[in-house]
Symmetry: C2
Subunit: 306 residues, 2 copies
C-alpha cells in the first residue's frame, strides 16, 4: 500500500495564469514535435520538418535523401562546402516558391548554424526558415521611459494591418531578425533607424540583457528562435516615428497596463509577449514569492540557447 501523501498543488494567481498562457502560446506540444522529420547536414541535426514539407523535398533527390523509415531528411554529402549547400538549397527553395509552397519571400539570407558564432553550414532564404525548422536569431528592444517620480512606461507598437505576418498585433518598439553578416549591435542600430527613427547615438544606448528562446509550431513548421533582449531607456520627450510603414502607431503605456494586456489577451505578437515577461521579471514586477515564478522563468528559455 502506498501511503505517500503528494504535496499540495499550489494555486496560481490569475496574473500568473495569464503569463503562463502566453508562454504556452509559444511552446510546441510534445505530440506536435513527435511527427517531425529531422534535417541532417553531415553529422549535425539542424532542423525539424513537417511530414508534408518533407514529402515536397522528395522530388529533389540530388539534394536530399528523404527517409520515411526513420523520419529524416539528409542533405547530400556530395555537397561539401557551405557555398555548395547554399546554392543547392537556393535552387530547391526557388522551385518551391514558384510552386506556391513557400510564401512570404524576403530576399534575406539567414545562416544555418549549430550554434551562434559558428561558421554557417549554409545560408537559406528567411521565408524558408520555419519550413526547415532551423534555429533563427533575432534582436528585440524594450523601449521605455522613467519619469522623475520613477514611473516606468513602455513603448508599444501596433503592427500595420497590411503586414504579412501578425497584422495588427502589438509589438516591441523595435525588433528584427538577425541576418547573416551583421553583428547584433549593428543590427540593433539599423533596426532602430528603420522601424522607429531612433537616431544612432540614442540606439547605441540599448543595453543587452540576455536572451529568451522558444520552440513553437506554426503552419509552415517549427519556429526555433533565440531572441537577444535589449533594454533602451528613452528620454521622456523622444517620440518614435514609423519609418518603413510596418507600424500603424506607437503608444506609451504604463507598465501595469502592459502587464494586464499580456495577462488577459493575445494582443501581443506571441514572441514579444515572452520578451516583455522577461522584462517584467528582470525589473522586479514579477516576484519570486509568487507561485509559478520559477516555472515562468524557465518557460522563457524552453528552446536550446546555443
Amino acid at each position: 500500500m502506498d501511503v505517500y501523501l503528494p504535496p499540495e498543488a499550489v494555486p496560481l494567481t490569475p496574473e500568473m495564469e495569464g503569463y503562463r498562457a502566453r508562454v504556452m502560446d509559444c511552446t510546441a506540444r510534445p505530440e506536435e514535435l513527435d511527427e517531425l522529420y529531422t534535417l541532417h547536414v553531415g553529422p549535425a541535426i539542424v532542423g525539424h520538418i513537417r511530414p508534408e514539407f518533407a514529402r515536397r523535398l522528395e522530388e529533389f533527390s540530388d539534394v536530399f535523401d528523404v527517409r520515411s523509415k526513420d523520419a529524416s531528411v539528409v542533405m547530400s554529402r556530395e555537397l561539401r562546402t557551405p557555398e555548395e549547400r547554399t546554392k543547392a538549397m537556393a535552387g530547391v527553395l526557388r522551385e518551391l516558391r514558384s510552386q506556391g509552397v513557400i510564401t512570404g519571400w524576403r530576399d534575406e539570407l539567414y545562416p544555418v548554424v549549430e550554434a551562434f558564432h559558428q561558421t554557417p553550414l549554409m545560408l537559406v532564404e528567411r521565408a524558408a526558415v520555419p519550413y526547415l525548422g532551423v534555429r533563427a536569431y533575432g534582436v528585440h528592444i524594450n523601449g521605455y521611459t522613467v519619469s522623475e517620480e520613477g514611473e516606468v512606461k513602455m513603448w508599444v507598437a501596433r503592427r500595420s494591418k497590411t503586414k504579412q505576418t501578425w497584422p495588427s498585433k502589438l509589438d516591441h518598439i523595435v525588433a528584427g531578425g538577425q541576418p547573416v553578416g551583421i553583428s547584433c549591435a549593428d543590427n540593433v542600430i539599423k533596426e532602430c533607424q528603420e522601424e522607429a527613427s531612433i537616431p544612432e547615438p540614442l540606439a547605441r544606448k540599448a543595453k543587452p540583457c540576455g536572451a529568451v528562446s522558444y520552440v513553437c509550431m506554426q503552419l509552415a513548421g517549427l519556429k526555433r528562435d533565440v531572441l537577444f533582449v535589449y533594454d533602451l531607456e528613452l528620454p521622456a520627450d523622444f517620440k518614435p516615428k514609423p519609418e518603413d510603414g510596418e507600424v500603424e502607431e506607437f503608444m506609451l503605456w504604463p507598465i501595469p497596463k502592459v502587464a494586464e494586456v499580456i495577462q488577459t489577451t493575445t494582443e501581443f505578437k506571441p514572441n514579444c509577449a515572452l520578451v516583455v515577461i522577461d522584462f517584467l521579471i528582470r525589473h522586479g514586477y514579477i516576484k519570486p514569492d509568487e507561485p509559478g515564478y520559477l516555472d515562468l522563468f524557465t518557460g522563457l528559455r524552453i528552446g536550446h540557447c546555443a
Copy 2:
C-alpha cells in the same frame, strides 16, 4: 566517404574563457553524477547521495531502504506525513552528527520540496542538505552604486577567516539561504540587516531580477541550488557594516575590477561568481556579439529551476 566539413570552432576571448571557468567550477561532471544514489520519497526523487553516505544510511533500516542494486535510497512508506518524515530524519541526522559524519550543524530547518512553493515533503537540518543532495534555495543581493557620471561600482564582501564555509573568499554584500517559513522578500530584509546593517527601508528597494541555478559536487555531496537574484542600488554615501562577525571587510569596486577578478581568479565564492556573471549579462557588460555568450548564459542555469 563523409565529406562534411565541420563548422570552424570559434575562439573565445580570455575574458570569456575566464567566465566559463567560473561556471565550470560550479558544474558537476557527468561521471561525478553517475555514481550517486537517488533519494526517493514516495514517487518523487528528491535527492542524490554519495555511495559512502548511502552506506551510512543502511544502519537506519526503519527509515531507509538502501538498495545498491539500483543505487537508490528509499524512505520508508510507513512514514506517511511530512511531520513523521521530518521526525524520523531528525533522529537519523542527530545520530550521524554524534558519529561525526555530518559536521557544521546549523540548527536551521530547510524544506525538502519537489518545487518551490509546494508543501514540503519534510524538513531537514541545513547542514544535511548537501549530504542528501536535495535542492536548496537562497537569495543573493548585488549591492551597487551609480555615480552621477554613470559609473557603476559593486560592494564586495570579504568573508571572515573563521567562517566555517569558504573562509576569506569574496562574497556578495548580502546573501543567505532560504529557510522554511519566511518569504524571499522578508528573508532579503532580514539578511540585509544581519549581514550588512542595511536598514529596512533601504533593503525594501532590492529588486528581484530572476535566478541562477547550479548542480555542483562538493565533499559532502551534491549541491543543487536555485538562487533568487536581487539588485539593490545603494546611495553613494551608504557604507555597509558587518553586524554578525561573518564579514572581514566590505569593498566598493568598479565593475571592470569585479569582472577581472571573476575572469582571472577563484577569489569569489563559486556560487557568487555565477550571480555576478548574471549581473554582468543583465547589465550589458557581456555582449551577445562575444563568442560563447549563449553558452555562458545557459551555463548560469544548468540546475533545474523548479
